[in-house]
C-alpha cells in the first residue's frame, strides 16, 4: 500500500508543478492554443487513470461503497443540492452542529508555505502540530484509506493528505467521513507538516473537521479538471500592469461572475488580485495626500441640490422631514466650502451617483477622489498629478510601462508609458492645428457656434442636439485630440463655456486654467484653478441656465449656499478630481468597469441566481 500512496502523490504533485511554458505573455496565440490542447490531452489521460485507480481502490476498500466523488460530477445540480440538505438534516438530527462556532487557525497557508516550503522531499515533522483552514477546491482519493485535497485560503493553496492510519478513526469511519467532504467545503485540519517524495508540500491531518458546507455543485472546467491548479499558479505571477485573459478563466460566464462575485473570487484566482490592486491604489492616494498634510473629510451624499458637476442625479425622499433629496453627483462644492472655512488642504475619497445608463465605463455609483489645495494653481496640480500617478504605477508594477488590451482581448495589448513628465496639449490651439480650423476667439458668440457646427459636419463628427458651443467643441476635441492620448496626456486650457467652476485664464481670454488627464483615450482626472470670484461665479451659473433652457439638461444648477460661501472668501485654490474605477481598470487590464467593481449594478434578473451557475 505504501508504494501506491507515493505513486498517487507523484501524480498529484505533478498537477501542482509549474508549467514551464507558463501563461507566457510572449508566447504566440497558436503556441498557447497548442500548449493548452496538449495540456488538456494530458489531463484527460491522467484523469482517466486516476478514475481507474479510484475505482479499483473503491472496490478494494468496500464492496458496497462507491466512489462518491466520481458520482457527484454527473449528478443533476438539484439532486446534488437536495442530497446535501439531507446530509445536513441527518447531522442535525444526530445532535451534531454542522456549523461549528470557531476553529483555531495557527497559521495562514501562505505562512505555512514560507515556513515549511524548505523541507526536503519525503521529510515529515511528526512532532509539530499546525492548524490550517480553507476551502477545498479539489478532492482526489487513491483508496478508501487515503484522500488528497487542495486547500485554498488567502490566495494560496496547500495539499492535504488524509491518511486513515493517522486519523484516529477506524477505516470505515474514516471512509464515511471523507466521503461526506465535498469540493467547495470549508474545512479545518490539524496535523503535521511534510513533503511527499516528489516534493509536494502537504499537511498530514490528525484531525479534520468540516466548518461550513458547500451545498451547490461548484462550477468546474469539465475538459480540464486539473486546470484550477494551473490557474492558482498563475495568480502568483499576475501583477498590476500586466495583461489578463478572463476568457481563460474557470468561470467564464460574465453574468455569473458579476452577479455571484464570490464564485468568481473562489474560482478565478486573479480576480482577488484585481480587488487587492484596487485597495492598494486607494491606499497609495490616501498616503500620498496625507504626507502633504491633506485632511480626509466626509461631505454629504444626500443634498437638496445636486451640484458640482453636470449629470442627472438620483432622487429620493426623506419621510420624517418630508423632503426631496438628491444623491450627490460630486463633492466639489462642499469641499470648497470647507476651504472657505479654513481647512486649507482637504480631500474626500468616496462614492458619486449618476442616474445614467450602464455601459463599459459607467456604473450608477462610482468612486472618486477629489482634493482642494489652497494657494496652489493648476500648474502645481499638474506637477503633483504626475508625481502621484507615475509614483503609484512604479510602486504597484515596478516600472513606468504597463500593458493594456486597448483594442480587445484578441488583439495585441498596447503599452502605456507613465514616465513623467506627461505631454501637455493646449485644447483650442491644438484642435485648430490638427483640424486646420480658425475658431472665432469669442466662443460665446453665435458666430463661434455656427463655425463649430459647420466643422462638425465637415469632419463628419456627430453631435446630437442640443448643439451648444460647449457640446460641439467637446465632440471635436474627442475626435481629434483625445484619440491621440494613449500615454498620459494633459489637455489644458478649456474654454470658459465648458468649465463653469474653473477660473478664467490669467493671460488667455475666454479660456480657463483647467486640465484633464487622458490615459488610453479616457479622461481620468479633471482639475483647475478654482473660480473664487463670487460675481463671476454667479454669471457662469446664469450662462449654464441658458444652456439648460436650450435643452442641455446636463448644464449645472445654481447653488446659492455655495455662492454665499464664496462671498466670505475662498483663497486661491487648486482643485482636482480622479476617477478611481477608471484608473483601476487601466492598471488591471480591464476593459469593462464591472471587472473592478465587486458588485456592479446589473439588470434585474427573473430566475433565481443559483441557477446561473449550472451553465458555467
Amino acid at each position: 500500500m505504501e508504494n501506491s500512496v507515493e505513486e498517487t502523490a507523484i501524480g498529484v504533485s505533478n498537477l501542482g508543478m509549474e508549467d514551464p511554458n507558463g501563461p507566457g505573455e510572449t508566447a504566440s496565440k497558436n503556441a498557447r492554443k497548442k500548449e493548452l490542447k496538449n495540456k488538456q490531452r494530458e489531463e484527460e489521460r491522467r484523469r482517466k487513470e486516476e478514475e481507474k485507480a479510484k475505482q479499483t481502490a473503491a472496490k478494494a476498500g468496500s464492496q458496497v461503497q462507491k466512489s462518491v466523488a466520481a458520482d457527484d460530477d454527473d449528478m443533476d445540480p438539484t439532486q446534488y443540492f437536495e442530497n446535501r440538505l439531507k446530509y445536513l438534516a441527518a447531522q442535525k438530527s444526530d445532535g451534531i452542529n454542522p456549523y461549528p462556532h470557531k476553529f483555531f487557525v495557527s497559521m495562514s497557508i501562505l505562512e505555512y508555505i514560507e515556513k515549511y516550503g524548505c523541507l526536503s522531499n519525503g521529510e515529515h515533522l511528526e512532532d509539530v502540530s499546525v492548524s490550517l483552514a480553507g476551502r477545498i477546491m479539489s478532492k482526489r482519493s487513491s483508496s478508501s484509506k487515503l484522500f488528497f485535497y487542495d486547500l485554498h485560503s488567502g490566495g494560496a493553496k496547500v495539499q492535504v493528505m488524509a491518511d486513515a492510519s493517522k486519523s484516529g478513526m477506524d477505516e470505515a469511519e474514516f471512509y464515511k467521513f471523507h466521503s461526506s467532504v465535498k469540493r467547495g467545503d470549508i474545512v479545518g485540519v490539524t496535523g503535521f507538516p511534510g513533503k511527499t517524495k516528489r516534493g509536494e508540500l502537504s499537511v498530514f491531518p490528525r484531525s479534520f473537521v468540516t466548518l461550513s458546507h458547500c451545498l451547490h455543485m461548484m462550477p468546474r472546467q469539465k475538459a480540464a479538471p486539473g486546470s484550477d491548479n494551473a490557474n492558482a499558479k498563475k495568480t502568483d505571477v499576475w501583477v498590476p500592469g500586466s495583461t489578463r485573459n478572463p476568457e481563460a478563466y474557470i468561470l467564464k460566464d460574465q453574468e455569473t461572475r458579476y452577479r455571484q462575485r464570490y464564485l468568481d473570487l473562489m474560482l478565478n484566482m486573479e480576480v482577488r488580485q484585481i480587488f487587492k490592486t484596487r485597495s492598494k491604489i486607494i491606499s497609495y492616494i490616501r498616503s500620498f495626500l496625507d504626507n502633504l498634510d491633506f485632511l480626509e473629510v466626509e461631505t454629504p451624499m444626500m443634498n437638496m441640490i445636486a451640484g458640482g458637476a453636470a449629470a442627472r442625479p438620483f432622487v429620493t425622499h426623506h419621510n420624517d422631514l418630508n423632503m426631496k433629496l438628491y444623491m450627490r453627483i460630486a463633492p466639489e462644492l462642499y469641499l470648497k466650502e470647507l476651504v472657505v472655512g479654513g481647512l486649507e488642504r482637504v480631500y474626500e475619497i468616496g462614492k458619486q451617483f449618476r442616474n445614467e445608463s450602464i455601459d463599459l465605463t459607467h456604473n450608477p455609483e462610482f468612486t472618486t477622489c477629489e482634493f482642494y489645495m489652497a494657494f496652489a494653481d493648476y500648474n502645481d496640480l499638474m506637477d503633483l498629478t504626475e508625481k502621484m500617478i507615475s509614483g503609484m504605477v512604479k510602486e504597484l508594477t515596478g516600472g513606468y510601462k504597463i500593458k493594456y488590451h486597448a483594442n480587445g482581448i484578441d488583439k495585441d495589448p498596447v503599452e502605456i508609458d507613465f514616465t513623467p513628465p506627461f505631454r501637455r496639449i493646449d485644447m483650442i490651439e491644438e484642435l485648430e492645428k490638427m483640424a486646420n480650423l480658425n475658431i472665432p476667439k469669442d466662443l460665446s458668440s453665435d458666430e463661434a457656434n455656427k463655425y463649430l457646427a459647420e466643422a462638425c459636419i465637415k469632419f463628419d463628427v456627430k453631435c446630437p442636439p442640443p448643439q451648444t458651443t460647449a457640446r460641439l467643441l467637446d465632440k471635436l476635441v474627442g475626435h481629434f485630440l483625445e484619440e491621440t492620448c494613449v500615454n498620459p496626456t494633459y489637455i489644458i486650457n478649456h474654454p470658459e463655456i465648458m468649465s463653469p467652476l474653473a477660473k478664467w485664464h490669467r493671460t488667455k481670454s475666454c479660456l480657463t486654467e483647467r486640465f484633464e488627464l487622458f490615459i488610453n483615450k479616457h479622461e481620468l482626472c479633471n482639475a483647475y484653478t478654482e473660480l473664487n470670484d463670487p460675481v463671476v461665479q454667479r454669471q457662469r451659473f446664469a450662462e449654464q441656465l441658458k444652456d439648460r433652457q436650450s435643452g442641455d439638461d446636463e448644464a449645472m444648477a445654481l447653488d446659492e449656499t455655495f455662492c454665499t460661501a464664496l462671498e466670505y472668501g475662498l483663497p486661491p485654490t487648486g482643485g482636482w478630481g480622479l476617477g478611481v474605477d477608471r484608473l483601476t481598470m487601466i492598471l488591471t487590464d480591464s476593459q469593462n468597469i464591472k471587472e473592478v467593481l465587486l458588485f456592479p449594478a446589473m439588470k434585474p434578473q427573473d430566475e433565481p441566481s443559483a441557477k446561473a451557475t449550472q451553465d458555467a
Binding site: G184, M218, F314, L338, G341, I358, T564, S609
Partner: protein, 588 residues
C-alpha cells in the same frame, strides 16, 4: 509669481475712510466707532502665544447684522474689488507661494526674545481676522489652517503707498499673502514685519461676531464654513475626526484586513432593520434602495475567500433626525474568518483605546462632564444579568409565558415607566423582545463606563449564531459607553437554512406589523405617525442566502459607529457637531 505683484503703482489715496468704518464695524456696534484707530475685536479667541488684540472687551448688545447691513457691506466691498482691478490688481489671485505656515513660524522662532528681529525672508498667507490701525502703524492678525501670526505693518517699510492701501482696501475677512522679516514685539507677539503684501481673495461679507456666531446654532450647521472661521475649535473637531478614522484604518490594516467597497444602491436593503431610502434608476427602470448596512455584501466577500475584510462607509436610514441620528452616517464594518465574538471584543477595545490615545494621549477622558475610563479590560456582562441587577427580575426564571412576563415587568417597574414605555412593553411579541425592551429602558442609560453587553436573545438577532451553550441566546454583544451603543458584533450565522428561516420570520413579523398599522387608520394622530414608521417594505436578499449555501467560514463581524466614537472622543454633545454638513429641516 503673478500673485506676488507688489503694490508699486502710485495711486492717489481715495477718501474711503467713512466707508471703511462702515465696513469694518458693521457687525460691531455703530456706536463704538472711534476716529483715529479702528479697533475691532478679533473674532477668534487669541491663542496662548498671542496677546489680546484691542483693549477692553467691546461687548455689543446689537443682534447679528441685518440683511440690509450685509447688502451695504457687500456693495462697498464690490466697489473695492472694482477699484483694485482699475489699478491693475487682481482681487482674486491665482496662487501664493508660502514659505511657512503660522505654526511653523511660531515654532521656529519660539525662542526669539521680545523686541528682537531676524532678517530671514518669510512669506505667509491666511485670513485677516483682526486688525488695529494707527497713524503709521497697523497690526493685522492672520489666521491659516495651522494657527495665528501677527502682521506688523510699518508705513516706512512698505513699498510706495501700500500702507494707504492697507488701510483703505483691506477688510477683516480678506485673504492676504505677506512677505517680510521676523520680529517679536516688545509685548512678546511674534510678527511678520511686512515688506509687501497682496490681497489674494477679497471677501464680500462681514465675518460674524464671535458671540452671535456661536449662539446661532442653526446657522452654525447651515453655514459650517462661517462656524469654522468664527470658531477655530470647530475645525479641530474635524481634524480629530480625520485622525480617528485614520487611526481605525491603520489599526485594522495592521491586522491584515483589506478594505473593500460594496454598493450603496441595492435591489434589496438588508443587514439591519430600518426604513431605507428609495430611489429610481431611469435606465434600469427599477427602484433601488440605499444601503442600511454593509453586512450582507461583506459576508459575500468571506464566501469568496477574503478572510479579513472591512469597509468604512456611509449608511443611510430614512429616520427622524436628533442629536444622535443623522440620515446618513459612517460606520466601519469588519469581518474575520475563523474567529468568534470573543475576538471582536478584543478588537473593539483595541480600536477605541488607540483612537483615544491618538486624540488625547490618555485613556481617561471627559465626556460632557463625566469622567470615562477606557482602561482595559472593559466590563463584560450578559444582558440577563444586567437586567436582573437593575430590576431584580430574572428572565431565566420567568418561564415561557409572555403575558406573565409582561405582567411581572409592568408590576415591578410600573412606577419608573412612562406611557410610551408601557405601550412598548405591551407591544412586545416575544420574550426576547421583552427582555430587550426592559434592557433598553432601564439598563442602557446607566451604562456609562465601557461595558460589553453579551448574549442577546435570538428573536432580536437574526444574523447572529446561536449561543454554543445557552439555548435561545446568540453569541452577540453590543458595546455601550455613556449610555450609547457604539458597536454591535456577533459570531456570524453561517447555516444557510437557519438564516433563511430567521429572515423569513423577520419579514413575516414586519408584514404583520404593517398590516396592523394599516388597519388602525382611525387611531390618534401620534399613533398613526408611529405606525407609519412600519409602513415600508422589507425584502429578502435571496442572493445573500444563495451565497451562504456555497459555504461561509465560521467568522465574527462587528459594526462600529464612527460618528459616535468621534462624539465621545471630541466631547461633542450632538452628532451634528461631528458631521460637517448635517441634514437639517428645510429653512422657513
Amino acid at each position: 509669481m503673478e500673485a506676488l505683484k507688489v503694490w508699486s503703482l502710485s495711486t492717489k489715496p481715495l477718501n474711503l475712510r467713512p466707508l471703511i468704518h462702515l465696513a469694518s464695524s458693521s457687525y460691531s456696534s455703530f456706536a463704538t466707532k472711534r476716529t483715529v484707530s479702528t479697533s475691532v475685536r478679533c473674532c477668534t479667541p487669541p491663542s496662548t502665544t498671542s496677546t489680546r488684540i484691542g483693549g477692553a472687551p467691546n461687548r455689543r448688545s446689537s443682534t447679528s447684522p441685518s440683511t440690509s447691513d450685509r447688502d451695504a457691506v457687500r456693495a462697498i466691498r464690490l466697489k473695492k474689488v472694482e477699484e483694485l482691478r482699475s489699478k491693475g490688481f487682481e482681487p482674486y489671485a491665482y496662487k501664493w507661494d508660502r514659505t511657512d505656515t503660522a505654526s511653523q513660524l511660531q515654532d521656529r522662532y519660539k525662542h526669539l526674545p521680545n523686541g528682537e528681529s531676524k532678517s530671514d525672508h518669510v512669506s505667509t498667507s491666511g485670513r485677516i481676522v483682526a486688525r488695529r490701525a494707527f497713524g503709521k502703524l497697523a497690526f493685522l492678525t492672520l489666521r491659516d489652517d495651522s494657527g495665528i501670526i501677527q502682521l506688523y505693518c510699518e508705513k516706512e517699510r512698505l513699498l510706495n503707498d501700500q500702507f494707504e492701501q492697507l488701510k483703505t482696501l483691506v477688510d477683516i475677512g480678506d485673504i492676504l499673502g505677506a512677505t517680510g522679516s521676523i520680529k517679536r514685539t516688545e509685548k512678546g507677539e511674534l510678527s511678520v514685519c511686512v515688506n509687501s503684501f497682496a490681497i489674494l481673495t477679497k471677501s464680500l461679507l462681514p465675518l460674524p461676531d464671535k458671540y452671535h456666531g456661536l449662539t446661532d446654532v442653526d446657522k452654525r450647521y447651515r453655514q459650517r464654513y462661517v462656524d469654522m472661521i468664527a470658531n477655530p475649535e470647530v475645525a479641530n473637531t474635524f481634524r480629530k475626526r480625520a485622525k480617528i478614522v485614520s487611526e481605525i484604518r491603520k489599526t485594522v490594516e495592521f491586522l491584515g484586513f483589506v478594505e473593500v467597497e460594496t454598493p450603496v444602491l441595492q435591489g434589496a436593503a438588508g443587514g439591519a432593520e430600518a426604513r431605507p431610502f428609495v430611489t429610481y434608476h431611469n435606465s434600469l427602470g427599477r427602484d433601488l434602495y440605499l444601503r442600511i448596512a454593509t453586512e450582507l455584501h461583506l459576508k459575500r466577500m468571506l464566501v469568496g475567500g477574503f478572510e479579513k475584510v472591512y469597509e468604512i462607509g456611509r449608511i443611510f436610514r430614512n429616520e427622524g433626525i436628533s442629536t444622535r441620528h443623522n440620515p446618513e452616517f459612517t460606520t466601519i464594518e469588519m469581518y474575520e474568518a475563523y474567529s468568534d465574538y470573543e475576538s471582536m471584543m478584543n478588537m473593539a477595545e483595541e480600536i477605541v483605546t488607540r483612537c483615544a490615545l491618538a486624540v488625547h494621549g490618555k485613556l481617561t477622558i471627559d465626556y460632557q462632564g463625566v469622567e470615562i475610563s477606557l482602561e482595559r479590560p472593559w466590563r463584560k456582562e450578559t444582558m440577563h444579568n444586567l437586567v436582573k441587577e437593575a430590576t431584580g427580575i430574572d428572565f431565566n426564571e420567568l418561564g415561557n409565558d409572555l403575558e406573565v412576563a409582561k405582567d411581572v415587568a409592568l408590576k415591578t417597574l410600573g412606577k419608573e415607566f412612562e406611557n410610551k414605555d408601557i405601550s412598548a412593553i405591551e407591544a412586545c411579541f416575544s420574550l426576547g423582545h421583552l427582555l430587550n425592551e426592559v434592557f433598553e429602558i432601564v439598563v442602557e442609560p446607566k451604562l456609562i463606563q465601557p461595558t460589553f453587553v453579551l448574549d442577546y436573545p435570538i428573536e432580536i438577532s437574526p444574523l447572529a449564531k446561536p449561543h454554543r451553550r445557552h439555548a435561545g441566546l446568540t453569541e452577540r454583544f453590543e458595546l455601550f459607553i455613556c449610555g450609547r451603543e457604539l458597536a454591535n458584533a456577533f459570531s456570524e450565522l453561517t447555516d444557510p437554512l437557519d438564516q433563511r428561516a430567521r429572515l423569513e420570520e423577520q419579514v413575516r413579523q414586519h408584514n404583520e406589523k404593517r398590516a396592523a398599522a394599516a388597519s388602525e387608520a382611525d387611531c390618534p394622530e401620534e399613533k398613526i405617525k408611529q405606525n407609519d414608521d412600519d409602513l415600508y417594505e422589507v425584502t429578502l436578499d435571496d442572493d445573500f442566502l444563495t451565497a451562504l449555501e456555497y459555504g461561509m467560514p465560521p467568522a465574527s463581524g462587528m459594526g462600529l459607529g464612527i460618528d459616535r466614537i468621534v462624539m465621545l472622543l471630541t466631547n461633542s454633545a450632538s452628532i451634528r457637531d461631528v458631521i460637517a454638513f448635517p441634514i437639517l429641516k428645510i429653512q422657513q
